[in-house]
Amino acid sequence: MSSENTETRTLALANSRLDATVRGLIGRAQGHGSTVRMLVILVASFAFFTALQPAIFLNPVNLQNIAVASPEIGVISIAMMLAMLTGGIDLSLVAIANLSAITITTLYSQLALTDPEAASQAMPFIVLLGIVVGLVAGAFNGFLISRLGITPILATLGTMQIYNGIAIVWTGGSTLYGAPEALTAIGDVGLLNVPSLFIMLLLIAGGVGLFLKSTSLGRKALLLGTNPVAAKYSGINSRNVLMNVYVLGGGLGGLAGILFLVRNPTASAEYGSSYVLLAIVIAVLGGTNPAGGFATVWGVVLATITLQVVFSGFTAMRLSAYEYSLTQGLILIAVMVIDQLSAQRRQNRGLGKRKPLFSRKERNSA
């Protein structure tokens, strides 16, 4: 019992450190309210389920589970956020992640069959190949969207079918075993009881946050999403920016595929089929404007953890997955309605300028 207590305490300590870091980052986020709001929702939902089911919910195993389940969907949601930031969407991310996981598993298990020694030596390169698969898939998305001018939703709807179709043909519809053991081993390690997967999520989020804040491409992507016409007239090559954003998104998708394998050493074409919707819910919940221009990485990370907390809370209260799906839909619609109402109120007070929430024409001409 006491050991559990110390574990909880260390987790709480790590949590509070994390909170401090996050708050520091929020301070620099140009007074963006969505991250703060998300933090409040996270703390509130955590407190809510703790009050209802303290024994089950505060159990270290449960907290560990939340930390282990969040990263893969978190990384996919961050990639989704990047696409939404430019006013687009990427429906093919989960298919890309699965393709990456399948590539790694197939190559490694085949090499391990003939020469286990060489397989373990080549392991890092094989894992890197997963990211390359993601980058290539993302580049194809980017080509269709930025060069041919296909609408992101249709382009990625088509490539999702293609990537997923390739995965089905490749695996024959079955689940593959034999992912690199070293990857699974990484998943078992942790720092101060914080699972390594969760640390990876924080590192990736930090990297993407830095990319958006401090690189020219990141700033251009933000501007492109805010106002494509202004971006065009300020000399931004929107085609290149879009291309790079989708390549980066694909790379993150490939990375998510590696995280799949770290968490669970199997790969299949069917894995994470509910993640496409979930990633959109998380991105919007995390303060991403679906019309482009607004997004915070930390808002997305907090939204990811919040939804995992709600999910495990539901499980602790013995509610079904169906009720979770229902709640997901409700949360998504409620958040958008509340956002819209508060935007209208701001507008009525004359504090904010009128900005169309979802202007398709503008985006099309970009």
Partner: protein, 350 residues
């Protein structure tokens, strides 16, 4: 540049055959596909194949007509499958609870009622709060499916009310074949009538024209005096009722009610509508193109195997077709906008 100029002399008859939304091109693709499969495997050219493709197109076509209406208005609806299964499954559960068969008309009216209610919910959220349709309907899809499975039921129902069940073996036409008979299900008649009805609404009524107007430019439509919010609400109610009807027909044809069904297969319908020439930006699309698009996807899903393509490639094939289809549209849109500039500058010079 010279090739662009020579295009100016294209006879208008070709443009007319091509159709407003490239329906003619799609028809050519469809004919080419049918011929290719038929040459690779003559078995394809049979009445039973034709009837089975038509039977398979019944449910997707009604879905597609609902999606078409929404897409012309500038939106994207992905909640139709969830509405369909919610309305039809709930209706069957209610009918089962009563013990007696309420009759087909009552069943359809009940399903339509649920379709209208769920469609109204979509419409209110989208029209009143002016939210992005894709994300709203993704949310309501999850919401409706969760409601159905958590509170209505998650059990597979094998025995439908007799009035529904008997309809699955009613045939409008039976042609004896070498092996057995080829039967055309009677449900193709109401589906054809609905397609004509939707065509009439879209092209001959004020409501239909206002759908195109809103999709073309919402702000312009509003200033021209179209009741945008009311029309949008009506669009989603209509789409909801079409989805509910499709759900009932799906249960009839499948002779069972599975609440896990339908949701997850939305993409084929979306692909069919987009291939049919409808624009996701709204303002463009036709019933004829949609019918062709649905038939194209049906043939790929049902008959590609006859041409020696393994079923595992189906999904990839639909994806490639979608990319090629919208890619051609995107490129030709780009080219025509360039052409406009070129001819303008040439006129100025001369």
């Amino acid at each position: 540049m010279s090739s662009l100029l020579s295009n100016q002399g294209v006879p208008s008859i070709i443009n007319r055959l091509r159709g407003a939304n490239n329906e003619g091109v799609l028809l050519l693709v469809l004919v080419a596909l049918v011929l290719t499969i038929g040459i690779l495997n003559p078995v394809f050219f049979s009445v039973s194949t034709l009837f089975s493709v038509l039977r398979g197109a019944i449910v997707p076509l009604i879905f597609a007509l609902g999606v078409l209406i929404v897409m012309i208005s500038g939106g994207i609806d992905v909640s139709f499958a969830a509405i369909a299964i919610f309305a039809s499954y709930t209706t069957v559960v209610i009918a089962q609870d009563r013990g007696t068969d309420p009759g087909l008309i009552v069943i359809i009216l009940m399903a339509l009622f649920f379709g209208v209610v769920l469609g109204t919910f979509n419409g209110i959220v989208i029209a009143r709060f002016r939210l992005p349709t894709l994300i709203v309907t993704l949310g309501t899809m999850s919401l409706f499916k969760g409601l159905l499975l958590a509170y209505v039921g998650s059990k597979y129902i094998a025995n439908l009310p007799p009035s529904m069940d008997s309809l699955s073996t009613e045939y409008v036409m039976s042609i004896p074949q070498e092996q057995g008979t080829a039967n055309l299900n009677v449900l193709v008649i109401p589906v054809a009538l609905i397609a004509v009805l939707v065509w009439w609404i879209l092209s001959r009524t004020m409501f239909g024209r206002s759908i195109y107007a809103i999709g073309g430019d919402q702000e312009a439509a509003r200033r021209a005096g179209f009741p945008v919010v009311r029309t949008q609400l009506m669009i989603y109610i209509l789409a909801g009722s079409l989805a509910a009807l499709a759900g009932v027909l799906h249960l009839i044809l499948g002779r069972a009610a599975n609440p896990q069904d339908l949701v997850g297969n939305e993409l084929d319908v979306l692909a069919a509508v987009v291939l049919g020439g409808a624009s996701v930006f709204g303002g463009r699309g036709s019933v004829f193109g949609t019918v062709l698009g649905v038939l194209l996807i049906q043939i790929i899903n049902n008959s590609l195997i006859l041409a020696g393509v393994p079923t595992a490639w189906q999904q990839t094939a639909v994806g490639v077709l979608l990319i090629v289809g919208v890619g051609i549209q995107a490129i030709s849109a780009k080219r025509s906008s360039k052409k406009l500039v070129v001819t303008k500058t040439l006129q100025e010079q001369s």
